[in-house]
């Protein structure tokens, strides 16, 4: 079922975040802002296991973030952020979402200078409005990240995070945790290359056409699938076509990405990213996705 956008909760997040800024309003607020938009060509965007269901599509993302950095004690800063964004799938519009949220992070820098290691822990709370019935959700995350620059042009980071998506319908009510690392190499002062790799463990949603879903439930794909899939949360969402079913399962997902990001100017970059994810669920069913993303980021 398709539902209209609900912005009430998004407005609530906005109101929540205002007093923090209003309290310092008489001063010149040292807020930094950043905007990014990207277009992704996603192969198997619907995360289908059967090749006959694979759907390729364009996804457009836009996001704006405002950050306030507040020193607490030597080496420790508090970062407060609010952000809002939009994810659109022009061909499958009912999967489009808007979101707004707030993030609070504590950043420890162990020493002075660019080469000092930095430990960051953060929590976020975001409201996501969806056009799919029962998919509006509150997303809560917490994470811990350690980063270190080794030379003027090499740095690395390791991140672990946990996410809980509170949604009224169990299909969309998911939780997972991730562990990933990335290495960044500034080839020149203009060109930057980043490689990242990680894994996710937890709930994942996927989609299947009515025909494939009926085969799965009937055990026609495999006896294990026939035994496992009826125990899953699922509902007909028409997400990627009439009769499409969205379902939730436990899985492990491995992902990696490679990003080439030329700088267009001192505050602007144009990242081109390839990302591959490979997901295997509890009974060995595999899901593969490939994403090509071209974005533009600007820091004001």
């Amino acid at each position: 079922m398709i539902v209209p956008w609900s912005f009430r909760c998004l407005a609530f997040v906005g109101v929540l975040s205002l007093p923090a800024f209003a309290a310092t309003a008489p001063l010149r607020l040292p807020i930094s802002t950043r905007m990014e938009t990207s277009t992704t060509w996603a192969e198997n965007i619907n995360r289908a296991s059967s090749p006959s269901d694979w759907t390729d599509s364009v996804q457009v993302d836009a996001r704006a973030t405002a950050s306030l950095l507040t020193p607490l004690i030597t080496g420790v800063s508090l970062i407060t952020e609010v952000d809002a964004g939009y994810t659109s799938l022009p061909r499958y519009d009912r999967n489009s979402t808007v979101h707004a949220g707030a993030r609070t992070a504590l950043r420890w820098k162990f020493g002075l200078g660019a080469f000092a290691p930095v430990l960051t822990t953060d929590v976020t709370l975001a409201r996501r409005a969806s056009r799919l019935n029962g998919a509006d959700s509150w997303l809560a995350t917490s994470g811990l990240s350690l980063s270190k620059r080794f030379t003027d042009s090499w740095r690395a980071s390791l991140t672990g995070d946990w996410a809980q998506n509170y949604a009224p319908h169990s299909v969309f009510d998911t939780r997972h945790h991730r562990l990933f690392g990335q290495v960044t190499w500034d080839l020149t002062d203009r060109w930057q290359l980043t490689y990242g790799r990680g894994s996710l463990w937890g709930d994942i949603t996927a989609n299947a056409s009515a025909r494939i879903w009926a085969r799965a439930l009937g055990g026609l794909i495999s006896p294990a699938v026939g035994a496992y899939y009826p125990t899953l949360s699922y509902e007909t969402t028409d997400s990627f076509g009439p009769g499409y079913v969205t379902y939730r399962f436990k899985a492990r997902s491995d992902f990696w990405w490679l990003e080439l990001a030329p700088a267009l100017g001192p505050n602007t970059s144009l990242p081109l990213r390839y990302e591959s994810t490979f997901t295997v669920n509890f009974v060995g069913v595999k899901y593969r996705q490939d994403l090509w993303t071209l974005g533009i980021l600007h820091r004001f």
Partner: protein, 216 residues
């Protein structure tokens, strides 16, 4: 006779004036490709007498502007006070790990400024602990005869007493040392060309990082 004495006195005065007349040295700094080098610090250190210099009573300014330090290179003499005004709309934390003057100014906000006194000669590399790409240099020279090259690589040092000097050139990317001894005659306008070997310009990239990947 009086005419002769007058002429002699005039000649003696002229000679004396010539012997003590200030000289000018024009230095052109180029790199290995013969391109002009800007932001090179050219200084002349007197070898015949101890240099006498007076710090400026007005503080020198190194601003934070557009999330960069401005200027990139500043030359002062020991005892000079430098002000660091934050002309951005965000906070900065200026620091230096240089042996000449290690310091850390706590984070400070837009429209405010901090001030430091630089007592010892040497090189002070500045950074911002929040914005890693921000970099600048304060060069403290123990001589009153110094200048920073302009974009044409030229530095014109004037009012130099005659004598022997060590001509030194420093640049943030200088590989090795660049100095030579020069003798300046009274009233001279000397030209000096110095070719320096510069390391590649590898500053920390400023452009924003991508959002990264990772299944979300």
């Amino acid at each position: 006779m009086p005419r002769f004495l007058l002429s002699l006195s005039f000649a003696l005065l002229l000679t004396a004036a010539r012997l003590t007349a200030a000289a000018v040295v024009q230095v052109h700094v180029t790199d290995a490709k013969q391109s002009s080098v800007a932001d090179a610090v050219v200084s002349l250190i007197p070898l015949d007498a101890a240099p006498v210099f007076t710090p400026s009573t007005t503080p020198v300014v190194v601003a934070q502007q557009g999330q960069e330090f401005e200027p990139y290179v500043t030359v002062i003499v020991p005892g000079t006070r430098v002000n660091f005004p934050n002309q951005d709309n965000i906070r900065h934390q200026v620091y230096s790990l240089s042996k000449t003057k290690p310091f850390e100014i706590p984070l400070y906000g837009p429209g405010t400024e901090q001030s430091l006194l630089f007592e010892r000669p040497g090189i002070v590399a500045l950074g911002c602990n929040i914005h890693d790409w921000m970099a600048a240099y304060i060069v403290i020279v123990a001589t009153p005869y110094y200048l920073k090259t302009a974009t044409d690589g030229m530095a014109r040092l004037v009012d130099l007493p005659p004598g022997r000097y060590r001509l030194e050139v420093w640049h943030p990317r200088l590989s090795g040392e660049a100095n030579r001894e020069v003798t300046i005659a009274a009233g001279d306008t000397a030209q000096q060309s110095i070719t320096v070997i510069l390391k590649p310009d590898r500053r920390i990239r400023r452009a924003p990082d991508g959002a990264g990947g990772g299944y979300k």
